[in-house]
Every structure is written in structure tokens, then in C-alpha cells.
């Protein structure tokens, strides 16, 4: 049961249309998610993390987006599901939590009604049972006075309370999969810690597989079982969390870790990654995508068509440039 695969993504490509051409923001991503597992996807903004999330739950505007590859859920490829088909699984089998709870909640409806609505759609509870369950859920996510909060409108709640409500909604139907896209980025650290602890606790209860998207390596270190580091539409490194922090290999992973203010080198100059994440249209699709940001590494170190190499049982790294990588100020070795 521990290793039950609940979601499999194969060669996912999601492109956005600019005029008459599509540019892939997610460019050949494959991974599996297991029951009871927390997989973190980490990378700087613009790397394509949210695009993966939105592809899985079918939230893209179909007129401007092209999705291909396979998203296999319950033995079915849902990539080309219609809106109605997605509606059946969204919220029931797959719960999602986004960064801005205000945008995900209807400002005109009371919080309690919104939770009950999901229950109408996905369960056959009676009206009274739905009300009971809604109050139970609010209490379960740590809302002190569920009766009162249920009658409030989203804007009347603090950011932390809203995120709790969203978690209550996402988990209302005991989903197998939870996708949380930067769920605590807008919150204070103390509230963030509470929300993340709540998420872990609920996971232990319903055994869902969670995809946690974040740009915060601290959050990854505290939460993840497995980590995928994403750069320019691709995974560049995938490893178990402890392994990744003990033995980071890809130059992008190492550069990110190096630019965090570290407690053991207080005040020292921080590592800066040269250049920036390329925009979709300017992204060169040939060769190692991180190469322009480590120009002191000779071309010969990179693979022509970088693939993810298996380094050990649970550790994968893209390209070959990690093997002799050094930071610019370290000199070659």
C-alpha cells in the first residue's frame, strides 16, 4: 500500500499560444506520485511549476493552451478530458490549494456555503449531514469557532484563516491527490508553520499523495519526501529530500542553495546566479538550458541533448555538466 502509484505523468508538454505559435512552458516532464507521499516541485518563478499543476487539474484556457503527453490517473489518461470530465475529478479525487485563497474563493458567498457546495456536487450526504460535515471540516483545520466562520465572507477572514478554509474545501471529499501551489507564500512564518503542520497531519489521516509547489528550499527541506528541481520547463534533478540536501548535484540546485543567506556564513557575499530565467519565447530549446547561466563551464561539459541520468537508486540529474561543475570563484579542478 505504501508504494501504490496514484498518478503518473509521462512526457508532459504544455504550451501557450503567442499569435500562431505554441511555446512549451512545461517541456517533457515525467514523474509518478505515490500514496502518502509528499513530492515537492521547487524552482524560481517562471520555471513552469504552476503550469504543471494547472495541467493536472485541467485549469488552462483551452483556446490558448496545448497539452500533450499522458497524465494517468485511475488507469485513464486525462490529458484531453473535457471540462465536464474534469469537473468530476476536480475537488473529489484531486483537491487543490493555491497561493491566493481570495482568488479561489467566491467573494459573494459565505464560507460555509462554499464548502457545502463541494459536498453537494461530490457526495450524496443529506442537507443536515453536509452542514455537520462542513462544521467538522472547519474545526478540523483549526478554525476556533466554525459556526461563526461559516457565516462569514472570505474578505472578512485573515490570510491564514482563508488558507485554512481552502484546505478544508480541498480535503472535504478525502481526495487521493492534493496539489498545493505555493500555499503559504503569502503568509507570515508562524502561520506558514501552522498550515504546513496541518497539511502533514491531514495527510497522515487521509494518506493522500501531495504535490507541494514552492520556491522556498526551507519549506522543501521541512516537508518533502521527494523533490523535483525545475528549471526552464524541465526537471533538472529529482531525488529523495535528504539525499538532495546532502548531495545536491545539478549546478542549478547547487546555485540555489548557495544563494540562501546561510547561518554559518552570516554577512558573507551571497552567490548570484548570472542572467535570468528566460522567457518562453527566448528560451533556447537546444542543449543544456542552464548553460547560459554558468558561462565559465566549457561547452564540452554539457550534453548535446541533455537527459535525466540515474545516478543512484533515487537520484536523477539532467545533463553531464554537474560532474566537473565548480562555482566561478572556486576555479577549476
Amino acid at each position: 500500500m505504501e508504494n501504490e502509484k496514484i498518478l503518473e505523468i509521462k512526457d508532459l508538454h504544455t504550451g501557450f499560444r503567442f499569435e500562431d505559435k505554441y511555446f512549451d512552458a512545461v517541456d517533457g516532464v515525467s514523474f509518478s506520485l505515490y500514496k502518502n507521499e509528499l513530492l515537492a516541485i521547487v524552482g524560481e518563478s517562471g520555471c513552469g511549476k504552476s503550469t504543471i499543476a494547472n495541467s493536472i487539474v485541467g485549469l488552462h484556457d483551452k483556446n490558448h493552451t496545448r497539452v500533450s503527453g499522458e497524465i494517468i490517473y485511475d488507469d485513464e489518461n486525462v490529458v484531453n478530458y473535457s471540462e465536464e470530465q474534469f469537473n468530476k475529478i476536480r475537488g473529489k479525487d484531486i483537491g487543490f490549494i493555491f497561493q491566493d485563497p481570495l482568488a479561489s474563493l467566491n467573494p459573494l458567498h459565505r464560507v460555509g456555503e462554499q464548502i457545502k457546495e463541494a459536498l453537494i456536487y461530490h457526495t450524496d450526504l443529506t442537507k443536515e449531514q453536509r452542514h455537520e460535515r462542513m462544521l467538522y471540516l472547519l474545526g478540523r483545520v483549526g478554525i476556533v469557532n466554525p459556526e461563526r466562520t461559516a457565516r462569514q465572507f472570505p474578505h472578512e477572514l485573515s490570510g491564514g484563516m482563508r488558507q485554512r478554509v481552502l484546505i478544508a474545501m480541498a480535503l472535504s471529499c478525502k481526495p487521493n491527490i492534493v496539489i498545493a501551489d505555493e500555499p503559504t507564500t503569502a503568509l507570515d512564518v508562524t502561520i506558514q508553520a501552522q498550515i504546513l503542520d496541518l497539511l502533514s497531519e491531514l495527510q497522515n489521516e487521509i494518506h493522500a499523495g501531495i504535490i507541494l509547489i514552492t520556491h522556498d528550499l526551507g519549506v522543501v527541506a521541512q516537508m518533502a519526501d521527494r523533490v523535483a528541481v525545475m528549471y526552464a520547463g524541465q526537471f533538472v534533478e529529482v531525488a529523495e529530500a535528504k539525499e538532495l540536501f546532502r548531495n545536491p548535484l545539478h549546478p542549478y540546485t547547487r546555485s540555489l542553495l548557495h544563494s540562501i543567506p546561510q547561518s554559518d556564513a552570516v554577512g558573507a557575499e551571497l552567490n548570484v546566479i548570472q542572467g535570468m530565467v528566460p522567457s518562453l519565447k527566448n528560451l533556447s530549446r537546444d542543449g543544456c538550458r542552464f548553460a547560459p547561466r554558468i558561462p565559465w563551464i566549457p561547452d564540452s561539459e554539457h550534453e548535446k541533448n541533455p537527459i535525466l541520468h540515474q545516478i543512484s537508486r533515487d537520484h536523477f540529474v539532467r545533463c553531464t555538466c554537474w560532474e566537473n561543475f565548480h562555482f566561478e570563484n572556486e576555479g577549476g579542478c
Binding site: 526551507g218 540536501f245 543567506p261
Partner: protein
């Protein structure tokens, strides 16, 4: 040497309502804080959102009128526009805003945005002004073709640098930096932080560095104030605050930081739960019956804690062990 001194600063905002739109209550955004600023030093102001950090910053640069208390610049009061003008205070004390985009006029080109403070305070010829602007762009590492672009044409990191260029344009003594890197990605954040440190060295600048990121504050600041409910709960050097936190609020804040350490996460979680528990148990030692933070009392030459009875600290420490 301190050049700026803030004594018992209060900023209260009236809450109006009712039929006659009368004042019903006050938001005690800043409710009695005191501190001094020395040359070339960086002071951190940390606390959760709503604790009053931005309001302190705005009061210092004169954008918010204090309800009570005094701000002294080289011993002179600067609470009135006229006084600030006389002392050239507005030139010497600048602010970098959290939300740069909204602080930059979208219809103005970068050239005019950076020139604005210069035009307000100095009389330069067109050539002198251009020379100064180009130097500033160079200092913040922006190409000269940025001059004729508009704010929206830049990335978040670049806009933040434009905000910095504008703030340093008049060679100020003090910059209030309000969450200058909160919206930025790690590598861009690193760039701005390095850069703020560099110009500090070059110009002997002082910073009041406002942030909710304790890692960033630790990296940047010599001296740190922890804020809660409009008041300081603790003040001390980096070592005092991080190695020997005394106020339960500080402990809670530090325990909540997600450390980049995957090995000890279970210990971190247990610690967090313990600190949360302590927080609810010890509330009456650290806050009065109305939830107000006590006055700061010294526990060493550099370290101050807001507590009613200093003796209770011993009690608190013993009870943790």
C-alpha cells in the same frame, strides 16, 4: 555616534464609523517605540504583517504623522515639514518601498523617475543631471539604455534596483528599506542584498531593514528589533536574538523558520510544538491583561526584553529545561 533618535514614537489611526462618522476607536499601529541609529550600521525590524513595521518607516521619513513621541535628527526635532526642510532631512533619509512598482510612476521614464529626487533637492544643469543618473544606473548595475524605458518594461529585480538608485540619488545617510527583497526570487534577492551591502560600505550608509524573513535579517543586520502589536518585544545583537532569544514571541518566530535542513525536521517540529505550548502558557508573563507588550528592560549591555518582572525570565528558562 547616533544621528537619529526616536523616542516613544506612537502612530495611532482613528477608526471611524457610526451614524455621524465619528471616531469609534484607534488602531495602535505603533505604540511607544524608542531607538537610535548610528552611522554605517544596519538595524533590522522584524515582525509579522500588521505589527507596525511600515508605519515606523513612514513616520521616520515623514510620510506618517506621529501621534506622540519625538524624532530627533542630530538632536533637532524633525516632526514638522518646515523643520525637516531647514535641516535638509528629506534629502538625508530615504525609503525603498516594498511594492516598488506602485511607488514608481508608470507614465514616467526611468530617467525622470531617478531624476525626481535630484530635481527636488539640487540645482543641476542638464548635463550634470544626466551624468549623475548614468552613475546611479551604473552603481545599481543597469545598462544605460534603461534610461528611456518605463517601469513595466523591467523585471521585479530590476525595478527593485531602480528603487534603490532613486533612494541613493541624493547620497543619503539613512535608507529605510521596507521588505526590499520579499517579492524576489532567491538569486535576484542575493544580488540586491549584496548590492545594498556594497553601497553601504562605499557611502557609509545606515539602513533600517524591514523584513519578515529572519534569515535575510540575520544576514544583513547588526542590531535587531522584534516587533509585535506596535511595540518592541525584544532587541539585541544578532547573537542575542538568534542564540539567546528570551521573549516567547521571538522564540516562536525563530522556531517557525523553515530551516534548509532536512536531517533534523522531526526535532524542529517537536521544538515548534513545545514553543507554541510555552507561548500559550506564559502569555501573562510577557503581555499585560489587555495583551499589551511590556516596556523593554535590559538583561545585558546589548540585549533588551519586554517583560514585567525580569526575575520571571529565570523562571521561564528553568521551566524549559
Amino acid at each position: 555616534m547616533s544621528f537619529l533618535e526616536v523616542n516613544d514614537l506612537k502612530v495611532h489611526f482613528p477608526v471611524r464609523g457610526g451614524f455621524f462618522n465619528t471616531i469609534q476607536d484607534y488602531v495602535y499601529a505603533v505604540d511607544g517605540v524608542s531607538f537610535k541609529i548610528d552611522e554605517g550600521k544596519t538595524y533590522g525590524l522584524i515582525g509579522e504583517s500588521g505589527s507596525g513595521k511600515t508605519t515606523i518607516g513612514k513616520a521616520i521619513v515623514g510620510l506618517e504623522k506621529p501621534t506622540a513621541g519625538e524624532i530627533l535628527y542630530y538632536g533637532q526635532l524633525v516632526n514638522k515639514k518646515r523643520l525637516r526642510k531647514k535641516l535638509g532631512y528629506n534629502k538625508e533619509v530615504q525609503m525603498i518601498f516594498q511594492d516598488v512598482l506602485s511607488s514608481l510612476d508608470p507614465r514616467k521614464r526611468i530617467r525622470d523617475i531617478i531624476a525626481e529626487p535630484i530635481r527636488n533637492h539640487e540645482k543641476l544643469t542638464k548635463e550634470e543631471e544626466m551624468k549623475r543618473i548614468l552613475t546611479l544606473l551604473d552603481i545599481v548595475g543597469m545598462p544605460s539604455d534603461a534610461l528611456f524605458k518605463y517601469p513595466h518594461e523591467f523585471s521585479g529585480g530590476q525595478r527593485q534596483r531602480i528603487g534603490v538608485a532613486r533612494a541613493v540619488a541624493l547620497n543619503p545617510k539613512l535608507i529605510v528599506a521596507d521588505e526590499p527583497v520579499s517579492a524576489l526570487d532567491l538569486s535576484v534577492q542575493a544580488q540586491i542584498l549584496n548590492f545594498l551591502k556594497k553601497i553601504q560600505k562605499d557611502f557609509n550608509l545606515s539602513y533600517i531593514f524591514i523584513s519578515h524573513d529572519l534569515g535575510v535579517v540575520k544576514h544583513m543586520c547588526d542590531y535587531i528589533y522584534i516587533m509585535h502589536r506596535g511595540r518592541f518585544v525584544e532587541a539585541g545583537t544578532r547573537e542575542d536574538i538568534y542564540n539567546n532569544p528570551q521573549h516567547i514571541y521571538t522564540k516562536r518566530l525563530i522556531a517557525a523558520i523553515p530551516e534548509v535542513d532536512a536531517e533534523n525536521r522531526e526535532e524542529a517540529r517537536i521544538k515548534r510544538i513545545k514553543v507554541e505550548q510555552e507561548y500559550s502558557e506564559k502569555e501573562s508573563i510577557f503581555y499585560d491583561e489587555n495583551g499589551k507588550v511590556f516596556d523593554l528592560v535590559p538583561i545585558s549591555d546589548t540585549h533588551y526584553v519586554a517583560i514585567k518582572n525580569k526575575e520571571d525570565l529565570g523562571y521561564v528558562e528553568n521551566s524549559i529545561a
